[in-house]
């Protein structure tokens, strides 16, 4: 499987990939989306976000493309999108986390979401 050896993902990587499942984004968009969905728990600063994105690109989970239609300050903005591999990895990781939380729920560590046993 393509995902062997890649899991578990670090929380930051996971969040980035998760955000990108909703569509390609610029760096700024990723930070804003993370503020919305992860609040104060996981935060990105611009400089290190780009380092993480570059790494994910090298690992083949994300692609970078310049969007010529969106010119800001002379340099074309970069857009980041999930590759198929990336999509598989984030799905696999979500499933892994879901299994863990199921166990936690079964052991009464977190409350039921109300969906019945």
């Amino acid at each position: 499987m393509v995902t062997r050896g890649r899991l578990p993902l670090s929380p930051r990587d996971f969040l980035i990939l998760l955000i990108l499942t909703r569509g390609a984004q610029h760096g700024y968009g990723i930070i804003r989306a993370s503020e919305e969905h992860a609040g104060n728990e996981i935060r990105f600063d611009p400089a290190n976000l780009y380092r993480a994105l570059r790494r994910l690109d090298r690992e083949g989970l994300v692609t970078v493309s310049s969007d010529p239609s969106d010119e800001s300050e002379g340099a074309a903005r970069r857009t980041y999108a999930l590759t198929d591999e990336g999509r598989e990895v984030v799905r696999a990781e979500s499933a892994r986390l879901a299994r863990l939380t199921d166990t936690a729920r079964a052991w009464r560590l977190i409350p039921d979401s109300g969906r019945g046993r």
Binding site: Y28, A47, N48, Y50, R54, R58, E59
Partner: protein, 891 residues
């Protein structure tokens, strides 16, 4: 772009070029957008917090990125690796920290030295920053302080104020304070205090609150109600914070006032409004008939700008007002030469701290140099230590550690050291701030809030991290360039990197000398200037002279003042060991720190043409004044008792006045006129530096005290005594209170004390800079000594061989010294150049010399040279004492 984004952009320059080419602009623009959005959402502090977090993360990212880059240089990562580069996450970092701590613990002496060096630099920088922060950076403690403005050029007439309040549109709210020196009497001892009479809106404008009771009601600003608000400090000092004071009556200016409130302790009145000294506030009635004169300049004015109006607009509107008033009231608002009174509008902040900005920034620069010097020293030590670890690092390399990891390891060590240094430094900063509170002579505004608080701690943390990266970078890069093979083969650990290391150390020594020299030059200039200042010939003898300044206000009149002076002179003469007792309307150095001295008048001779009168200081003095002060009588005589009531008035001119009025002619016996009086010159006295050390000498005239003296309440006694002030002051006070128990006697000081106070500011900065320079000299000497000691040790083998081959010990010593001389010379030249450039900043602070004073520069270079040579002499001598057999054997 916001300022925060600019800073962020600057920090991102720490990243390697490859990263920057791809991401720099984008990251900065993202940060800018996020920062703006945070400002709107979370306000200033939320945005500031976000900015600080991003900056710190960027620093960490830079370090990680460099490690990544170095690793990349070794070749592309294996494709199947999950985490190429330095992705060890927090586990890796913890390992680094543990390893660093262990490795430092193995050399505790080294670690402690480095930490102390850094603590000195960081502590000093933090202490100075806490002052700069409190005085310059922090906002004024009033509601909406950016909208507050101050009307300059002294005090203004209350009648003008009333008009401005009505008519000026760009300033919405106006507030003013009329400060006066008044006596407070009553059960406790009499004292002279500053009373501030305030207009209705002043307290609101400044957000004042009462901690007990209340402030004034608007009805109380009409008529003359007898109410008062006491300042917190005065309440503590005079009544020991007695809560029973509320509602009681106090006797101020011979009037009973009811205390209706105590001001909150955190209320800080701007210095422009005499806030520091004001003890009691009373309400001011702007319609009070006594203060309606258009020439009655008594009100210090602040205001709040109307919403949306800029300071420039207010300034422009006030200029138009000034012009209008000059036309409406030419007698009071226009000068003889046609110019009119101006009231420039400046922001309150500018009025408060504008004057000290340059000085404080200069201090910050000086302490920054000190910190840099400490860093250079530490870098030097680390380089030396890096050499000792060559084998250890080579081994690690051979066993597979990546350069990046080693680099990260060493940088972690540096950061650990610098953070430890920062911790100790903060402790030193606390001490420094305490010392500052004790020693600061009161010239800086807003010093109440100086302290080590969260912001200052944040600064300390930031510079600790920064210094760690600065001094750690070069040695770490150097150390990781080790050639593994050569290092392992060469048993004693001397790699070819040693030559490069020596070169770097050499340039570090040069920097140390240069940096020290800059600080020494600054200190030298201030010191030289201070000496020049205090060596100015004052024209009188200030030793063993005790002064008392009194105010004989109501109920004294001319007759009773004359009686008082005669009686008190008699009583003071009786005090044992008193040589002379004289009095005058003012004494020298009384107004050294500001205010206008003395009566002045235009003096003319019968032959003076119109417009050529000489503006002269007039001194009403009791007989024998000049002899008592030991002013030289150049011709004629002093004022004598028989001069009382004589017409024309017998006067003594100062040499300067005589020259201006009579030129080469003999002034004795000549007639002059001033203030519609006729006078006859009976003596010429030497010039006296009447106002302060650095003001130009003015023409002066001495006349019998009973002429004009009793017209004013101000009176000063000068007593030449063989006793010291502790012994004679109680006797003086007793004599005064015997005559009038209700007379406040606030100040009995020696003349020398007064003179010292007049230069307190110059002394303070001199001492401060001298301290920095002394520490810098110590650091430089220590650094040079350590560097040469180390280099001699490294070259032991070479020395041994030379000696074995027949070199004399003196030659070996000279070899070492030659390098020392060369490096010192280069350092001195560079330092002098830099000092000469920077000395211009001190142009305003030096007296009697230029910022490029050759004597100072020469002396300072000489001192630096000697110290540097002394520092490398000991290692040189040690080199000479090498035993060739020992070294050759030990190889």
């Amino acid at each position: 772009m916001t300022f925060a984004a600019r800073v962020y952009r600057a920090v991102l320059y720490l990243f390697p070029r490859a990263y920057r080419e791809r991401y720099h602009d984008q990251a900065v623009s993202d940060f800018d957008a996020l920062f703006r959005e945070r400002s709107v959402r979370n306000g200033r502090f939320g945005a500031a917090r976000f900015a600080c977090w991003c900056l710190l993360r960027a620093l960490g990212g830079a370090f990680g990125e460099w490690a990544f880059t170095l690793n990349e240089a070794k070749g592309p990562p294996a494709a199947a690796r999950t985490r190429p580069g330095l992705r060890r996450g927090i586990f890796g970092m913890r390992h680094d920290i543990k390893y660093a701590a262990r490795s430092l613990a193995k050399r505790p002496g080294f670690a402690v030295t480095v930490v102390l060096l850094l603590a000195t630099g960081i502590g000093a920088a933090t202490a100075v920053f806490s002052v700069v922060d409190a005085v310059l950076l922090r906002q004024l403690p009033y509601p909406d302080p950016d909208r507050l403005v101050y009307l300059e050029e002294g005090a203004h007439p209350p009648a003008d104020f009333a008009d401005w309040e009505r008519e000026v549109e760009s300033i919405a709210t106006w507030g003013g304070v009329f400060s006066d020196e008044v006596d407070i009497t009553g059960a406790e001892r009499p004292d002279r205090i500053t009373v501030g009479r305030v207009t209705p809106d002043l307290f609101d404008l400044l957000g004042a609150r009462a901690t007990m009771g209340r402030l004034f009601a608007s009805e109380e600003h009409v008529g003359d109600p007898s109410v008062a608000v006491v300042s917190h400090r005065f309440w503590q000092a005079r009544w020991g914070s007695d809560p029973e004071l509320l509602g009681r009556q106090i006797r101020v200016g011979d009037r009973p006032l009811t205390v209706v409130g105590i001001m909150a302790s955190d209320f800080v009145v701007p210095t422009g409004l005499r806030g520091r000294e004001t003890a009691v506030w009373t309400p001011l009635d702007l319609l009070d008939p006594d203060i309606q004169g258009r020439g009655y300049h008594v009100l210090n004015v602040v205001g709040r700008l109307a919403p949306g109006v800029s300071v420039e607009a207010a300034r422009a509107e006030m200029e138009l007002m000034n012009e209008r008033f000059a036309d409406l009231y030419p007698d009071s608002h226009r000068a003889r030469d046609g110019t009119y009174a101006r009231t420039p509008v400046v922001t309150l902040e500018e009025a408060e701290v504008g004057g000290v900005q340059t000085t404080l920034l200069m201090l910050m620069g000086a302490v920054g140099l000190l910190l840099l010097l400490a860093c250079v020293n530490v870098a030097n030590l680390l380089l030396a230590r890096g050499a000792d670890r060559t084998r250890e690092l080579a081994l690690k390399g051979a066993l597979g550690a990546r350069r990046a990891n080693v680099f990260a390891q060493l940088t972690t060590e540096s950061l650990l050291l610098s953070l430890a240094g920062g911790l100790v430094g903060v402790g030193l900063a606390f001490l420094g701030v305490r010392l500052f509170e004790i020693l600061e002579p009161g010239v800086l505004p807003r010093t109440e809030s100086v302290g080590v608080d969260l912001r200052v701690l944040g600064f300390a943390l930031a510079i600790s991290v920064a210094t760690g990266l600065v001094f750690g970078l070069v040695p770490a890069l150097q150390a990781t360039r080790v050639d593994v093979n050569a290092a392992l083969k060469d048993g004693s650990g001397r790699a070819t990197a040693g030559r490069e290391r020596a070169r770097i150390q050499g340039s570090l020594v040069v920097s140390e000398v240069a940096l020290s020299l800059i600080l020494l030059t600054g200190a030298g200039l201030l010191f030289h200037s201070f000496v020049r200042l205090t060596r100015v010939d004052t024209g009188f003898d200030s030793a063993q002279l005790v002064t008392v300044d009194l105010q004989l206000g109501d109920p004294y009149d001319v007759e009773s003042r004359i009686q008082f002076v005669e009686e008190l002179t008699r009583r003071l003469r009786v005090i044992p060991q008193t040589r002379a007792v004289v009095a005058g309307a003012t004494l020298p150095f009384q107004y050294a720190t500001g205010g206008t001295c003395c009566f002045q008048s235009s003096v003319s001779t019968p032959t003076t043409e119109d417009g050529q009168e000489v503006r002269t200081l007039l001194h009403p003095v009791t007989p024998g004044f000049l002899s008592a002060l030991n002013v030289s009588i150049l011709s004629g005589r002093d004022i004598e008792p028989s001069d009382d009531g004589v017409e024309p008035v017998p006067v003594v001119l100062s040499e300067h006045a005589a020259e201006r009025l009579f030129g080469e002619e003999d002034p004795l016996g000549q007639t002059i006129s001033f203030s519609s009086r006729q006078a006859r010159v009976v003596g010429v006295a030497g010039n006296v530096q009447h106002e302060s050390f650095n003001r130009d000498v003015r023409p002066e005239l001495y006349m019998p005290w009973k002429v004009r003296g009793p017209d004013i309440p101000y009176l000063n006694f000068a007593i030449r005594t063989d006793l010291d002030i502790g012994a004679v002051a109680p006797a003086i006070r007793a004599a005064i209170w015997d005559l009038d128990p209700n007379l406040p006697v606030p100040d009995i000081v020696t003349m020398e004390g007064r003179m010292a106070r007049s230069v307190a500011e110059e002394r303070f900065y001199s001492v401060l800079l001298a301290t920095f320079a002394a520490v810098a000299l110590l650091l430089a000497a220590g650094g040079i000594y350590a560097t040469f000691l180390y280099s001699v040790r490294q070259r032991m083998r070479e020395m041994g061989i030379r000696l074995a081959l027949g070199a004399r010990r003196g030659d070996v010593v000279r070899l070492v010294l030659r390098r020392g001389v060369l490096l010192t010379a280069i350092g001195v030249v560079v330092g002098l150049g830099a000092a000469a450039l920077g000395a211009r900043l001190l142009a305003n602070m030096v007296f009697g010399i230029t910022p490029h004073d050759p004597l100072t520069y020469t002396v300072v270079s000489g001192v630096m040279g000697l110290v540097a040579l002394a520092a490398c002499l000991v290692p040189a001598l040690r080199a000479g004492r090498t035993d060739p057999l020992e070294t050759l054997r030990a190889d």
